[in-house]
Amino acid sequence: MTTTVGVVVFPGTNCEMDALVAVEHIGGTGRLLWHADDDLAGVDAVILPGGFAHGDYLRPGAIARFSPMMAAVVSFASDGGPVVGICNGFQILTEVGLLPGALQKNQGLKFLCKPTLLRVESTDSVITAQTSVGVELLVPINHFEGNYTCDSETLTRLRDEDRIVLRYVDNPNGSVDDIAGVCNEGRNVVGLMPHPERACDELLGSADGAILVRSLLNAV
């Protein structure tokens, strides 16, 4: 039995096929899920892909959070189901309250689209279980609002609980404590700004993201 990963599509999502192809490239089965439906159709894991859900109007993720599918995702996550939010998906996860903090405009006010080096900081999450702490991965970023921020108490808690999963080696956007990805208390929900699904084959310039997708497929 292969792992079936549901990829949620909102109006304005634009990375759903990248995620779907990456999942299938690594050996899983991908299934697109429409945001207005309220049934996860029995998938084993969920990816909230990148893009501009609902045009990013008001704030990225602010409107997507109210989609019927998100109620199903929150319930799935509460039961321990693996959920990964990539880029816009990370923003949605913070807006819906599954992850702490918020993503604000990049420090330099530039839209950033380039390969970045990430360092694995914890292997205790659904996307890093098959890596090792300290491993560096070349994975692209593609965002304007990827500057992770949270209050100091939250930051202390994230550090103490080993919930900072990935850090930038060379911080591109001003994120507090070089944070590129965090997980929830249950470690089954992860949000990250970089796009591992775009780095799953050497033809794309890097295959370093494959280990993260593979970890997700094996987290089930």
């Binding site: 008001l58 704030r59 602010a62 913070t94 807006e95 702490p100 903090g101 918020a102 604000q104 405009k105 990049n106 420090q107 330099g108 006010l109 500057n147 921020t149 949270c150 209050d151 001003g174």
Partner: protein
């Protein structure tokens, strides 16, 4: 009664405001000296049907906290005025 609501959304104190900082840095080169504390936010306007002004304020504040702002990084101030210009509390 119908009320006009004006919501001003601002970044909370202590949250970096790169847009405000960029504008502030550009001002001297445009000949505007002595301008400081530039911040960039957004405004949202809507009308709301409510029993009275207090009801309109309470419901608008709920809307601000639950949707119009992200309380992690943003604050909002509201002003509520009756569409016909007569205070709902006094009417």
């Amino acid at each position: 009664m119908i009320y006009d609501v004006l919501v001003e959304v601002r970044l909370r104190a202590g949250i970096a405001d790169p847009a405000g900082a960029t504008i502030e840095r550009a001002l001297p080169s445009l000949g505007y000296d002595g301008v400081a504390a530039v911040t960039v936010g957004k405004t949202v306007r809507f009308t709301i049907e409510a029993r009275d002004e207090v009801d309109a304020k309470i419901r608008s504040e709920e809307l601000c906290v639950s949707f119009l702002t992200n309380p992690v990084i943003e604050d909002a101030t509201l002003s509520v005025t009756p569409v016909d210009g007569v205070s709902g509390l006094d009417a």
